[in-house]
């Protein structure tokens, strides 16, 4: 079990990152910090999926003269490109909301906001 986990060390790291991000989302009080936790989670999932695409001693999957295999799996890279864009979009919206909350309430601490309600 531990041996198998060790050989899949990269995956395990993304799980740990995922949980660290989740911790920030739950435990942090500042809305921006909460959101940074979310970004950590996003990164961890992206890292996990990209890691699936890794092949031992693989090179970038760009064909053409002089290119030699093995090439790494192109699919996870393509997926994660989309994933990153989604993450950026979510971040943009979250920041706009935080900006508005700041303008209207003068604070972005979750507990102070709760008192305002």
């Amino acid at each position: 079990m531990i041996g198998a986990l060790w050989s899949n060390f990269d995956y395990a790291v993304s799980v740990v990152l995922f949980l660290i991000g989740l911790y920030c989302v739950i435990a942090k009080n500042n809305l921006i910090k909460k959101f940074m936790g979310l970004n950590i989670m996003e990164t961890s999932v992206f890292a996990f999926i990209v890691a699936i695409g890794v092949v031992d001693r693989g090179s970038a999957p760009i064909m053409g003269p002089g290119a030699r295999g093995p090439f790494v799996n192109p699919i996870p890279q393509a997926l994660i490109l989309t994933g990153i864009v989604v993450a950026v979009s979510t971040t943009a919206l979250a920041l706009s909301l935080i900006v508005r909350v700041w303008h209207q309430c003068g604070t972005i601490e979750a507990d102070e906001l709760r008192e305002l309600e």
Binding site: D10, L19, I52, I62, N73, P74, T82, A92
Partner: protein
């Protein structure tokens, strides 16, 4: 106390996750299903079939082009979403650059003005050569957006906005989805399915790919710049 509880809960949640990770196919193995099933075909035939030496680009634009169609929609959704949250009829933009920040040194302004054309050129390079090298519409578009953002910080928003005039900006923002719909429909006419590309690696297929890349690049750049500007508007 509360934090300890959260950590304990997350630690419990980690167990099944780590167990699952341990029994995933071995990391980096060429025998793993992810590599042997669909990906192997992409790697073997991708360069010819998809019309791009960079197989990642081939996957993004051709094999899984519809995902990217969705993706550009997501970017535009973010643009519309920030607009719906931030725009008000009374909102005005900050007229003076760097109002609340320290005044910029003239060196910064000079360097930026010197570098701006090169950054723009690089952005276009990344867009157009995504087909054969690392890069593509998003990457190039992001670089271009960065240029615009730098310009609006350094030279003021009025200068930067001249690059993307407000009159056509709503159309530029949707360049991504529109180019996809146009090319996809053209593909449907030519090959019988939406986002289909003519198989032979000819001028037409390349032009279609380029069209999409350019659309993504322009659209992405405009959207990112618009979001940046909107975040700075006075409510």
């Amino acid at each position: 106390m509360k934090k300890a509880l959260i950590i304990a809960l997350l630690a419990v949640a980690a167990i099944p996750l780590l167990a699952a990770m341990a029994s995933m196919p071995r990391f980096g193995s060429p025998e793993q299903p992810a590599y042997t099933h669909v990906a192997s075909r992409y790697l073997q035939k991708g360069a010819e079939e998809a019309g791009a030496d960079n197989v990642v680009t081939g996957v993004i634009l051709n094999y899984r082009g519809f995902d990217t169609n969705g993706e550009v929609t997501v970017i535009f959704t973010a643009c519309a979403a920030t607009a719906a949250v931030l725009v008000t009829s009374g909102s005005r933009k900050k007229e003076k650059p760097g109002e609340a920040t320290v005044p910029l040194s003239p060196v910064v302004g000079y360097v930026v003005r010197l570098l701006a054309p090169f950054i723009a050129l690089f952005a276009f390079y990344v867009v157009l050569f995504g087909e054969v090298s690392p890069g593509g519409g998003f990457q190039g578009g992001t670089i271009f957006a960065a240029l615009i953002i730098i310009l609006s910080v350094v030279a003021g928003r009025n200068v930067a906005e001249r690059v993307l005039p407000a009159r056509v900006r709503p159309w530029l923002q949707i360049a991504g989805p529109l180019s996809f719909i146009a090319v996809g429909t053209l593909g449907a006419v030519l090959t019988g399915s939406y986002l289909g590309f003519p198989h032979a690696r000819g001028l037409l297929a390349t032009a279609m790919l380029m069209g999409i890349e350019l659309g993504i690049g322009i659209g992405g750049a405009t959207v990112f710049a618009s979001i940046f500007w909107r975040l700075g508007d006075e409510p």
